[in-house]
Symmetry: C2
Subunit: 350 residues, 2 copies
């Protein structure tokens, strides 16, 4: 009897949740627009971590983050009639920029609702990709009211950053690629050890709202069912950890973390998918995340943001658990404010 | 009659200078040890520069710089008897670290002569790869005396950072790879536009002592004779520019540049090769180099050091010359002191 978990029937266990076929469809749909990002290796980081690390470099994805995959799949899933009315979302971060560029690839309008007080550089980036910005008060109620107003005025399709099934399926394409790239010998596999086609023991991804984690779990379950999926989460925003432990969605928390991409709370469909696929959450202190980010920069020459470095930090913080294993890590993005680096690095402490 | 320069006979024009066959031999020799680094693209950097940029990412090479190629070729060129006596060089920078690691891949001793006052972090890196450090006064006479002393005591083979023909041939393998990768569609070519196999109009590399430039010129002349080779050089250490203009080797200068890898003066064999292959030198101000470095980090997520960013800076500074062209840029390394970033970025000015 097989001892590994059975996940082959999970894709269809609930209406509205995306499955592996949606990931495959998404991959075909975004192929003309998204990059196939390289998988990079570093012997010195392997030596530090005591395991074999394969970094899927989504910081090299368009807009500098994996978010482009989900946004692009959502935009290109629309009918022509839907597309003509544009898309709308609320995000002053990577999803906002990703949806703006995705909309541009289809030549349609994109509206992004942003809270007053958002970082001007990020808003400029979103506007730079051609989106129309709509400012609102920095509350959830104001944000939802503004979204509703934009939808009423324009008929634009809402593309939620992580609960939208089209977004989840799109994010799953990063893992689809990673698992297909494993075992190939080509220019981006920088090490012979990448070429024996052995399956990954574990995949680690950052978790905020759970879009990437859900997509990863769906793809891994279908392609490599013995590979365990871990979600790395800031200690100061550990709602996924709490939700999985209690067995019910926990949204009552005030995020306190430097990982600005991971402050959102786990979505309901995301929670269902993480539970179904037996994803394990690992919490990481910000100081460990920043120390890991510095190692990725210094030793790996991989320019990633804190919300991305957390997955590598989780490996370092749980060294015994991963010792000697073959590990896939999705480096989710590289949009870091270079002017804030001194303060960031100071957080790593001694 | 062909209008492009004839370089097919240059390989043998002078005894002692390496040729394309040496580059091919080097590629086979270092293949078990060196990474095949990816060639990355960025649409936003293309848009900024007004041309099509293909970045050969040697910051992802072992030791974080292309220098490992030449050092590795030199070490593995030795007979067993020579190898048993070890290797020696003088370099407190990337070549020292590269030779140390190359020696380790063959299990032989490596001696590195370093000036008193060298950056402790760099010395620690070289020692970390297993080399024996020999300190000397920070003068050329003291350095040469110490090298001679080490050679006398050990019989170690001197591997000069850029005049050694084995080193030059090894550095040429970066261009050999780049020109072979061009036209392939695989995971590391992040853009469809990379796949039409069109030749490069120009290759740009940084120049200090001229090892990389010489190797690049040899490989390009043999593989793609219509591709022009440009050497990007700091305005504050423009001896290559002066030498090529005057037609004689100019070594009388005091370097004043933030590009710590490019302060050395052009070697005599390197000068001969650059002249023979009609390499053009382009000078770049440090402030432009740092601004280019920041763009590579921010837009391309490519973590490179100033001595590496200068080649991209040269494209931006000579926009008209390269407009609409297909350009190969060798990003030579990524060994930058992260603690010094605020001061570095401040140099970029407004």
């Amino acid at each position: 009897m097989p001892t590994h978990r059975r996940t082959d029937r999970i894709d269809t266990f609930a209406v509205g949740l995306p499955g592996f076929s949606d990931v495959l469809t998404a991959a075909a749909r975004i192929a003309p627009h998204a990059h196939v990002t390289p998988v990079l290796r570093s012997r010195s980081l392997d030596a530090l971590a005591g395991c074999e690390l394969h970094f899927k470099c989504e910081q090299l994805q368009r807009t500098g983050a994996f978010k482009f995959r989900g946004a692009c799949n959502a935009v290109w899933s629309l009918t022509d009639a839907q597309a003509a009315r544009g898309v709308v979302t609320h995000s002053s971060g990577n999803h906002g920029a990703a949806l703006a560029l995705a909309a541009r690839t289809r030549g349609i309008a994109c509206h992004v609702v942003v809270p007053q007080g958002a970082v001007p550089a990020k808003l400029a980036a979103i506007a730079g990709y051609g989106a129309v910005l709509h400012q609102c008060a920095p509350t959830i109620a104001a944000r939802e009211a503004m979204c509703a107003q934009v939808r009423q005025a324009t008929g634009a399709e809402l593309v939620h950053p992580y609960t939208d099934p089209r977004v989840i399926a799109g994010q799953g394409t990063a893992t689809l690629e990673l698992l297909n790239q494993n075992g190939q010998r080509d220019g981006d596999a920088l090490d012979d050890r990448a070429s024996d086609g052995r399956m990954f023991d574990a995949l680690l991804v950052p978790v905020g709202g759970g879009g990437l984690t859900s997509g990863t779990a769906i793809a891994a379950a279908a392609m490599s069912p013995r590979t365990r999926v871990f979600a790395a989460e800031p200690s100061g925003a550990a709602d996924t950890f709490a939700s999985l432990q209690r067995g019910e969605l926990s949204t009552d928390f005030v995020p306190d973390t430097i990982c600005d991409g991971l402050r959102g709370s786990l979505g309901a469909p995301n929670f269902a998918l993480l539970q179904a696929h037996h994803v394990t959450a690992l919490t990481v202190d910000d100081s460990d995340t920043i120390a890991a980010m510095r190692l990725l920069w210094q030793r790996g020459k991989l320019l990633v943001e804190p919300s991305s470095a957390i997955a590598f930090a989780a490996v370092l913080a749980h060294r015994e658990r991963f010792a000697g294993q073959r590990i896939g890590i999705i480096l989710s993005g590289g949009n870091v404010d270079l002017d804030a680096l001194p303060q960031l690095f100071a957080l790593a402490g001694t």
